[in-house]
Subunit: 321 residues, 2 copies
C-alpha cells in the first residue's frame, strides 16, 4: 500500500510540474487554489458553462493509431469543443485519469503533455483533477467556460441558413487510412486531422449574436444534425451542392485515395469537432459556409438536384438506403 501511494503522489507531483511548465498566459487570474488541495477555487462573476467528457481506451481510441500525446491532446480538445459549441470562452478544466498498472511513467507524461499542449492552445488551464487505478485507460475532462449568451441547440428557426464552421470528414478519412494501413501522402492531412483535432473556440465565441443555434460535430454531421433538429423542432436540409462546394481540394484527393465519396465521409465523420449552426443569412460570418437551410418540419434531409432523402443519425443506414 505504501509503495502504491508514494508512486501515486509522485505521479501527481509530476503532472503538476508538467502543467506548471505551460506558459503563464494560459493561467487564469480567476484561479485562487489549484492542484494540491481538496478542490480548485475559482472566482466567477459571469455566466458559466460547464461540461464533462470521457475518452475510454478501446471505445474512443486505440493505441495502435494514436500516441499517448495524441490521446491526451484530443481528449482535451473534445471536451473543450462542447464549450466552443455554446459560444463560450473556456476558462479552466479538471482532468480525471484512470490508469492501468501497465502504463509506464513516461507514457503518463506523454499523455499529460498532450493535455497540457491542448490546454495551452485553448488558453484553458487544467487546474486540478484526480488519478485512480483502473484496468483500462480513460481520461475524463471537465471544462468550465464563460459566456454572455450561450448558443443552444434549441434556437434554430425556419428560414435560417445552415452553417458549417470548420471541416468535416477529414478525421474520418484519417481513421480509415490508419485502419487500412494506407501511407499515401495525400492522406497525411487527414491523419493529422484525426489525431490532433482542434476545438473551434474563437469561432464559437464569434458566432454569439450571429448564429441562433449551434452544436459541435463529434459523432457525425448527419447524426449531430438530428440533435439540433430535434432540440429546435425544425427540419434541417443539407444542400449537397453547397456542402460539396465547401470541401477542400486536399479532402477530395484523400477521399478519392480511399475510394469513398467525399460527401459520405462528410456526413458520417465527426471527430473533426466542426460546428454546425443556423442563423439568418445576413448575419453569417465569413468563416462559416452555408450548406443548407432550416424549414418547418422534422428530421434531417439531403437535397440534390431538387430531390431529397431523409438522413438517419446512423450513416450506415443512410449509405445503404
Amino acid at each position: 500500500v505504501a509503495a502504491r501511494r508514494t508512486s501515486e503522489f509522485e505521479r501527481i507531483d509530476r503532472i503538476q510540474q508538467l502543467l506548471d511548465a505551460a506558459p503563464r498566459r494560459q493561467r487564469t487570474n480567476q484561479l485562487e487554489v489549484g492542484i494540491g488541495d481538496d478542490a480548485a477555487v475559482l472566482r466567477l462573476d459571469q455566466r458559466s458553462v460547464w461540461t464533462v467528457d470521457a475518452q475510454v481506451e478501446g471505445v474512443h481510441f486505440d493505441r495502435r493509431w494514436l500516441s499517448l500525446g495524441d490521446i491526451g491532446y484530443r481528449s482535451f480538445q473534445a471536451a473543450v469543443s462542447d464549450v466552443a459549441a455554446m459560444g463560450a470562452r473556456p476558462v479552466a478544466a479538471l482532468s480525471s485519469l484512470a490508469l492501468p498498472a501497465s502504463l509506464k511513467p513516461r507514457e503518463l507524461e506523454a499523455l499529460v503533455r498532450g493535455q497540457a499542449e491542448a490546454a495551452n492552445e485553448c488558453r484553458c488551464p487544467i487546474i486540478g483533477g484526480n488519478l485512480s487505478k483502473a484496468s483500462e485507460l480513460s481520461i475524463t475532462t471537465t471544462v468550465l467556460g464563460r459566456v454572455k449568451r450561450p448558443l443552444l441547440r434549441s434556437g434554430a428557426r425556419p428560414g435560417d441558413e445552415l452553417w458549417l464552421v470548420g471541416r468535416v470528414g477529414m478525421a474520418r478519412a484519417g481513421l480509415l487510412a490508419l485502419m487500412r494501413a494506407l501511407r499515401s501522402r495525400k492522406l497525411k492531412p487527414c491523419i493529422v486531422a484525426w489525431r490532433r483535432p482542434r476545438a473551434l473556440c474563437s469561432e464559437g465565441q464569434a458566432l454569439v449574436g450571429r448564429a441562433r443555434a449551434a452544436i459541435d460535430v463529434s459523432d457525425g454531421l448527419a447524426g449531430d444534425a438530428q440533435h439540433l433538429a430535434k432540440a429546435s423542432q425544425v427540419r434541417l436540409v443539407f444542400e449537397a451542392a453547397r456542402l460539396e462546394a465547401s470541401f477542400s481540394p486536399e479532402f477530395a484527393l484523400a477521399a478519392a485515395e480511399l475510394g469513398v465519396l467525399p460527401i459520405e465521409l462528410a456526413l458520417s465523420g465527426g471527430e473533426d469537432y466542426a460546428l454546425l449552426c443556423s442563423g439568418p443569412s445576413a448575419r453569417r460570418p465569413r468563416f462559416a459556409r452555408a450548406v443548407g437551410h432550416v424549414e418547418r418540419g422534422r428530421g434531417v434531409w439531403l437535397e440534390r438536384d431538387g430531390r431529397r432523402k431523409e438522413l438517419s443519425g446512423s450513416f450506415d443506414h443512410f449509405s445503404s438506403s
Copy 2:
C-alpha cells in the same frame, strides 16, 4: 451502430427522468441550462470551488458488498466531501458514467437513483454529465461549490488544536465485516457507515471562520493527516486518550467483535468522510472533538502516556512497527 446509439439516448433520457424526479428544492436557481445541451450553464457570482472524483469497480468498490444504489450514493458523497472540506456549499454536479455492456438497464437505474438520493441529501443537483462504454464500471463526479473563505490544507499553525468532525473507523469496520462475512448485529451500523457515508457539508460550512485548516478523511486518518501536516509545514500530534474518548460505544463494540483495536481502525479507516481540522481552542464548535494539537516540526505522531511514535501514511506500516 443505430441500435447502440438509440439505446444510449434512451439511457440519457432515463437518467434525466430520474434526476428530474428529485424534489424541487434540490434544483439550483443558478442553473440556466441543464442536461440536453453541450454544457451546463450556471450563473455564479461568488467564489467557486470545483472538484472531480472517480470511483472505479475493482479499485474503489466491489459489487459483492455494495448494491448499485450504494455505489451511486457513495461515489457522489465522496466527491461532495471534497467540497465540504473546503468549507464550501455544494451547488451542482456533473456525472460521467463509464458503463460495461453487461450492465443492465435496471442496474443503471439503481446506480443513478443512488446518485440522485445523495444529490438530494446534499442539495446539490446533478445538472449534466456524460455516458460512455467501457469494460469496467466507473463513476466520475465533478462538483462545483461556493465559499467566501475556503478552508485550505495549508492553514494549520503551531498552537492550534486538532479537531475531528464526524466518525472515523466505522466504515473500515464495516468493510472488514463484509470481507469476513460476519453478520453480527453489532456490526450493522458499521456496514451502513461504509455503504452510505455522508459528506459533512453543513459542518464544513460552519467551520469557516473557526478552523484554520481542513481536509476530508477519505484515505485514512493517519494518511490524510500527513497531507495537512505537509501542506501546513507543521507537526500534528494525535493524543490517544482524546481520540479514544471520541469513539462511540457502538464503535467500540464493533471493533471488539472484529478483534481489532478501535484506535487502529480509527487511524487506518477513511471512507467515513470525516473532517480533520485545526483551529484555536476557543473557536472549536460543539460538533468538533479535540483529538490532538499542532506543533512546530513535521510529520504525524501518536502520543500516549507521554510517549510518542511517528505515524506513517500507511497504516500497515504503523501497525507492524
